[in-house]
Symmetry: C3
Subunit: 273 residues, 3 copies
């Protein structure tokens, strides 16, 4: 079933509007192309309403937010909501600054999101209104581990239920919940943390998966998480001794590019709780 | 002759000022270095007049335009015109939003361009003042194919004549015209469409080719298009089974880096109509 | 001793706030991860004070400065100074425009920097208040060569003494001085000049090295320069015939990722003058 979600992206080529940070934007564009979607980027308030209108999904990432792009996020988000488009929030660095925490909270209050994807510290910052995050990485104290798994599932389900969004918390163990069920996903490699932007890439890709699978949103979000993790495993298996994080970055996008639904279905490692 | 244009870039190392989108800017810089040019980026109105003054060419790309960068485009363009520098327009997404269509039209009206490079939908949007484009990719209905080739050549020649610019329409078949002659170029690979920014890269490279070949502008523009296509073919021939669009992206720039005039001349596939 | 500086980065994982250009920002982030640091980017005035407060170092790079990011540089710099954080200036393009030259000079006057890293033309522009630079590359007339080495060392020592910063001038021969001693470093490859952003990457990495080695700042700055040069040599040794500047870019970051202190110590080629 997860593999079918990928195939639906390749068959429908959803056009995704990204208001995203300039650090990882090129990788977001290439991973969207790799998975079968089509990217467009625009963060000018006078441009975003037109742009999002021709798209099927909107990916809002606050990684290098500024006053102009924040205005654009609200304008594009409202228009996307009017058009019943898929809208995803990636609250990069929520908890690390007041502007990020507050902007993410305002976006969540004023717009209707299909899904929110972040690391555990960012999602906790959103849930609690404040938090301590170590920059854009999750705080070790927050980590989802086998020991904290039950409590983490309860938290993610509860926050999904409260917000009415799919909540995807990614890390060593990934949790994806719609408030009722929770996918617990164990794909991926720890070395993915040495590449900037695997989270941003996943958010872009998840927006495409959601847009292409409107009748199976939870499965689509979980499929995107599994696809990224499986690609991380395939990419790692191709590494040569001289390769490091820069080559690994390309190998993961390459693996997404070559991934088919059958392989994804076979390699996905998850349980539903 | 086309190979000579590349050699002139390598021998004169033109410095190219790029006001370009943040999605593909790193690749634009690296492809300019690969072909023998030198890149500089600046989009602050208070900076661009000085910067463009020390350059030989200006590449204006509206891919992630904003109010500040639009102002910078006009200021830099006017200065570059005063200095009789090469100026190129890449109207990314013209037709996809009113701001993009109108900005491209205003730039074309108020500045003097050496060349305009875009996909067929963008160029039609410019020619018609409005159009339907699928985001930043060409609309299938507009595509230049063997069936529509004659009409497309007529259109490109006519628009080149009307604007007084070299018009380069790139896609499966590329057309480059100065209003009198039209290069019909059949290099390249369809897989290049799975990489973000091959068009942006070509625009940067074309600016360098034009700046380095002031007495053979049409040939220079065609040579840049052929170089990109030939590099796409060479890069593809180096692909391994595990490679995808991320590796292909690097292989194309690598191929430009290693390309010499003789190889380009030998591999170029074009006719002049 | 230089190898120990790298190990200290890997052991302490300094979080580095980068206000940097959008051309090379992804590589700066990945090289910071490769060397053992952790990157965060923010250039919005309303965000940077919070962000820099949770970091250990601040890397200010004026490569694509604009009015907003300039304001952010001063706000973040003042906060970082209050907190006695490492602060580094990369005056990209100083000498190429009045805005760049003046902004770099104002930053140097109003903030307290741990180090300044640039090419010889940029550093001369800073020292003299004006200069001629060829875009973002060093002017050939300024180059540090065996012939100009003694005079260059005198200049760098003098400017370091005058500013109270470590001054790092990088090029074919690299000079790093605190005003008393001067490291003369001969690692690296000329082909590194065909990749955009090796200087920006080094500035990011140097900020991490300085933050992780507060008791050995000169050694830390020199160690960062040696690490980049050694990685350039290792990366080059892995190049295949079809590779060019795009692959070389990845191979250098890969080499940083795999570099250990022992290798760095063994491969470093420098003298102290």
């Amino acid at each position: 079933m997860l593999g079918k979600c990928l195939e639906n992206v390749r068959n429908t080529v959803p056009l995704i509007h990204n208001i995203t940070n300039y650090v990882t934007v090129n990788d977001v564009a290439n991973v969207l192309l790799a998975c079968g979607g089509s990217p467009i980027m625009s963060d000018e308030p006078a441009d975003v309403v037109d742009i999002t209108s021709i798209c099927q999904g909107l990916n809002i990432n606050i990684g290098t937010l500024n006053q102009r792009s924040i205005e654009a996020m609200f304008l594009a988000g409202k228009r996307a909501n009017e058009l019943h488009h898929t809208v995803l929030l990636d609250p990069v660095g929520a908890g690390a600054s007041a502007l990020r925490t507050n902007t993410a909270a305002r976006l969540l209050n004023e717009l209707s999101f299909t899904a929110v994807r972040g690391n555990i510290s960012e999602i906790k910052a959103l849930a609690q209104g404040s938090a301590t995050t170590k920059g854009v990485d999750a705080d070790v104290a927050d980590a989802v581990t086998e020991e904290t798994l039950d409590a983490s599932i309860t938290f993610v389900k509860s926050f999904a239920g409260k917000t009415g969004c799919i909540i995807a918390v990614t890390g060593a163990i990934d949790l994806v919940s719609d408030g009722t069920a929770c996918y617990v996903i164990r794909n991926g490699r720890p070395e993915m943390g040495k590449i900037t932007g695997t989270g941003c890439q996943l958010s872009g890709m998840m927006t495409a998966f959601l847009a292409a699978n409107p009748d199976a949103l939870l499965e689509a979000a979980a499929a995107a998480v599994c696809a990224m993790g499986v690609a991380g495993e395939i990419g790692w298996s191709c590494m040569r001794p001289e390769d490091g994080n820069a080559s690994y970055r390309s190998r993961i996008i390459d693996a997404i590019c070559n991934l088919d639904g059958a392989t994804q279905g076979k390699e996905a490692r998850y349980e539903i709780r």
